[in-house]
């Protein structure tokens, strides 16, 4: 269905293929995340020091029981990778929900009410952009201790800017359209106009922003976990897997290649899907 609706023209073929690739990657990761307990061949937390750093299937001397090998504590790498889908997807989606709630509220209010409110909203966006995200997130987690909940709230509070910018500008466009004027004349309340007339008409733009934010949140979680101030061990976050394997990377590079490729492919998939959706909704102006 997505393919059929993608914009016509010479780009059509490539665009639809890339959208499908993106959807496939995101779908597969979502399935891995939901059904992780059923899919893992071994317990992702079980250590076996007798089987440390077994090599993956494409190298000589591999153990067919452990397709992607084992880590420095003898834990099955494939199982940890599948479990890691849960963490990435969970963080990506929940952070985006938090930041969407903040950003859309602020942006729609600024765009709809205008005047002083809008000045305040613009100021909030400018201030937010001047704050270094990674540093502040690290400081908060470093001060309050690492947990998934704290990580989600912190990143959610830091990543609402793009939602606010897009919600504000699209609301401004919709506000001046005839059907909104008609609703005013019909005596609709402000709340009704916002929820029934404005929001449905800016929703498609917000969905595109949401995909970009999911990709960004996944990357940031991995970065923070890599720096040791994200998801607490022994949870198999892909960023944490790379951090833990870093000491062995010069002798066995695959220990950082495998989780890194997973991370790279997932973020690429989300972005491809987002680009496809943007074309689908016919809003080809880059935010």
């Amino acid at each position: 269905m997505i393919v059929a609706a993608v914009t016509a023209g010479p780009e059509r073929g490539w665009r639809s293929v890339s959208t499908w690739i993106g959807a496939l990657i995101v779908g597969a990761t979502a399935i891995c995340a939901v059904f992780a307990p059923l899919l893992v061949p071994h317990d992702p937390f079980a250590q076996d020091l007798g089987k440390r750093l077994l090599v993956p299937f494409w190298m000589e001397g591999n153990n067919p029981d452990y397709i992607l090998g084992t880590d420095q504590l003898g834990r099955d790498y494939l199982s940890r990778l599948i479990w890691g889908c849960r963490i990435s997807m969970l963080i990506g989606v929940t952070v985006t929900i938090v930041s969407a709630l903040i950003g859309i509220t602020i942006g729609v209010l600024g765009g709809f009410l205008g005047g002083r409110v809008d000045d305040a909203v613009l100021f909030a966006i400018t201030t937010r952009l001047s704050i270094p995200v990674v540093l502040v997130a690290l400081a908060v987690v470093g001060l309050l201790g690492s947990s998934m909940t704290l990580l989600v709230i912190t990143l959610g509070l830091l990543l609402w800017d793009r939602f606010a910018v897009v919600a504000r500008s699209t609301t401004m466009q919709v506000r001046n359209l005839d059907f909104v004027a008609a609703a005013w004349c019909a005596g609709c309340s402000r709340f009704r106009i916002l929820s029934r007339e404005v929001l449905p008409n800016i929703a498609s733009h917000l969905v595109v922003v949401a995909t970009l934010e999911i990709a960004l949140a996944i990357l940031l979680e991995a970065t923070l976990s890599f720096l040791g101030l994200g998801v607490p061990p022994p949870l198999p976050s892909w960023g944490l897997m790379i951090a833990e394997a870093k000491d062995y990377m010069f002798f066995s590079p695959w220990v950082i290649v495998i989780p890194g490729v997973a991370l790279f492919v997932l973020v690429l998939g989300v972005n491809l899907l987002g680009d496809g959706l943007r074309d689908l909704f016919g809003a080809r102006n880059d935010p």
């Binding site: 704050i131 001060l143 970065t223 720096l227």
Partner: protein, 305 residues
């Protein structure tokens, strides 16, 4: 023009003041600072001594205004861990971060300007799509992972570049490439979009009609107009890059401001953490203001009422 500058300046000062407040609140989030500074084995008396020594026994509002007042006169307080002034610590480490940020920006511009122009000239061809693919790949690349991969390949296997440290310019090549990756997608897209818009404009048609050469049209007429937003965004990107260099400094053991902040977070050294947040935010605000001014000078239409 003067009114425009004054307005931007007022906003910049307000933003800096807000970030200052936020940075102060941020470091007080953990509750009692004295307990965390004194450490897990401290007695009640130790905690009291720490509280007195660092002025943490005074009301929060007094502490806040003290900090603001001192910061305005350039005094960012003393580090708990390094036994040195925070301002001198930051001044000492800033050259590394600035060198890293600037080399990242130069590499990003050297890559994205030609890529963007190429994609615009060959719009909707395989070349254009290849460039778009490159920007997508760059967007999805986790910078710390790219850093580690470069260390393994360029550093260990090929032996071309040093793996970590700050001895010579060669130490900045790999970190610079990694940092540039974060800016290349946005800069390339913007150059492409600007060039496509410029190429479709009337003055390009006139230049074509005059029979100017293709190179002259592209470089002298189109690029000059397309470059205005790119130059402005480049300044903003530099601000983002300085903020994001904390990850890369940690990966490559570059002892810059980001590394200092990372160390200080681990050691509960709050004066350093809040000062680094403030300094990076002020640099960002200054760079965005510079970008706005450049835009306004280069394109009078943007000055507004």
């Amino acid at each position: 023009m003067l009114q425009f500058i004054v307005r931007r300046l007022i906003v910049a000062v307000l933003v800096a003041a807000t970030v200052m407040t936020l940075a102060f609140v941020l470091t007080r989030l953990s509750g009692d600072l004295a307990i965390s500074i004194a450490g897990p084995n401290a007695t009640q008396a130790d905690v009291e001594a720490v509280r007195k020594a660092y002025g943490l026994d005074r009301p929060l509002i007094t502490q806040f205004f003290n900090w603001v007042g001192n910061a305005l006169s350039g005094d960012l307080g003393d580090s708990y861990f390094f036994k040195a002034r925070v301002s001198s610590l930051i001044a000492e480490r800033m050259p590394v971060t600035l060198t890293l940020g600037l080399s990242g920006l130069v590499i990003a511009l050297v890559v994205s300007l030609p890529l963007g122009i190429l994609a615009a000239v060959r719009e909707n061809t395989a070349v254009d799509r290849a460039v778009q693919l490159v920007t997508l790949l760059g967007q999805a690349m986790p910078s710390f992972w790219l850093g580690l991969l470069l260390m393994i390949t360029l550093g260990l296997q090929l032996g071309w570049l040093p793996i970590s440290g700050t001895g010579s310019w060669e130490h900045y090549v790999m970190p610079g490439i990694v940092l540039a990756f974060s800016a290349i997608p946005a800069l390339t897209r913007l150059t492409r979009a600007g060039m496509i818009q410029a190429m479709g404009s009337d003055y390009i048609r006139t230049a074509r009609a005059k029979g100017l050469s293709r190179a002259s049209i592209l470089l002298k007429h189109a690029l000059r107009n397309a470059a205005i937003p790119v130059v402005a965004i480049a300044a903003v990107q530099l601000g983002f890059m300085l903020g994001g260099s904390i990850v890369i400094e940690q990966v490559f053991a570059l002892h810059g401001v980001g590394f200092l902040a990372w160390e200080s977070i681990g050691k509960n050294d709050f004066p350093v953490v809040q000062a680094v947040v403030l300094v990076l935010a002020v640099i960002y605000v200054a760079l965005t203001m510079l970008a706005d001014l450049m835009n306004a000078v280069l394109d009078p239409r943007l000055r507004g009422p």
